[in-house]
């Protein structure tokens, strides 16, 4: 069903204000999911009205709320306290599948033409094992080895991100969605690698993220392990 502009305006305002309720609210939500113009109206009302929420006095929630959130987002195999250790989601999975990961790594490293890398990261997906191995080779090559390409990525691009200890993820460029290697020219001294402690691959519109940050789902991620001192 297509709404008239007037109805779309009124419904999106009532939705954000909260007076649109019950089945009508859910119906509108479904329509907004399918119609970008409607979703944009909702966002504009949210932008306009939400500064009002700053007037609401803050109330501290009890500590059990965070404990419950943590347990609901925990990777199945991890028991480490995430807040304290700052472990990555994929890292928790690695603990469970370490044998597989190491095997994949050694099979891969023994087939590589170069010498020992400076560092290496095994990138895992949440629902499966290792999907990519990233390694830095001197003097200026970052090698991205896709273990298993992604299905249903047609018309999309894979983008590699480095995550520093502090600050936003930084793009290192696009990666081919095929079994095998993508070589990225990158010096170990590149500014984007400052404080790097993990890599991630996200699914982006063709040509890469339209913003400077990842916009699509994260396909896999993993922490960096130094192999030898530079």
């Amino acid at each position: 069903m297509k709404l008239s502009l007037n109805a779309a305006q009124e419904l999106s305002a009532a939705y954000v204000l909260g007076t649109l309720r019950g089945p009508a609210r859910r119906r509108f939500e479904r329509m907004a999911k399918e119609e970008e113009a409607l979703a944009a109206l909702v966002r504009r009302w949210e932008d306009a009205l939400s500064p009002l929420a700053a007037n609401v006095p803050p109330v501290d929630p009890p500590a059990r709320v965070w404990r419950e959130i943590e347990s609901r987002i925990a990777p199945a195999a991890s028991s480490a306290p995430p807040a304290a250790s700052g472990l990555w989601r994929a890292f928790g999975l690695m603990a469970g599948g370490l044998a597989t990961v190491l095997l994949a790594f050694f099979v891969w490293i023994s087939s590589g033409p170069r010498g020992e890398p400076v560092f290496v990261a095994v990138l895992s997906a949440q629902d499966s094992g290792p999907r990519a191995v990233v390694s830095m080779h001197e003097p200026n090559t970052l090698r991205v080895h896709i273990v298993k390409p992604w299905a249903a990525a047609e018309g999309k691009s894979l983008e590699l991100w480095v995550l520093p200890t502090e600050g936003s993820p930084r793009s290192l460029g696009l990666v081919a969605n095929v079994s095998g290697d993508t070589m990225i020219r990158l010096r170990t001294t590149d500014a984007r690698m400052q404080g790097a402690n993990a890599f991630a691959v996200s699914l982006e519109p063709a040509g890469g993220s339209p913003t400077k940050l990842p916009t699509g789902p994260v396909l896999c991620s993993g922490a960096i392990a130094p192999v030898r001192k530079t």
Binding site: S12, A13, L17, S50, A54, P62, S168, V218
Partner: protein, 188 residues
Amino acid sequence: MTDEAGDRLATLLSRAGLGDRAAFAELYQATRSKLFGVSLRIVRERPLAEEVLQDSFVSIWNHAADYARAKSAPLTWMTAIVRNRSLDIVRRTREEPDIDEALTSTLADEGAAPAREAENRAEAHSIRDCLGELEAEQRQTIALAFFHGLTHSELAAHLRRPLGTVKTHVRRGLARLRDCLARKGVAA
């Protein structure tokens, strides 16, 4: 909230989107009290507000990677998730809702003190100015609906006005808000 603090939240969200748990924990610490306060106004019972906060943050974790596409300020995006969840699960009783008159009248006062931390100062000013242009009853009705999540019939009961009158106040008030915000370049 200052722009710098907003940028920090945007950074934390983008890192959470890539699976960074420490960033997500920091994001929770930075926003939990504000968001719990927002939910508590609407659902009114602490156990329900706790449930809302849990569900909302699980959803924020799962959708953090989509945030960049929303093109909203981080706190706006998160507040919308919390308000929507609150409105979804609020359990209505027949009792008269417990209304914070002071909060509602902050809006009704022309000379109201500015928000302690407006996420975006320009937008906060616009919405305040525009609310100031509404008739008093329209303004009060909209404030009650926004802060307390009251339905049309709860608004009618609380304000002791006929249902039709309340609906008209909401509809006309929102239309005037929209015209005013559009003049200021904020809303549709």
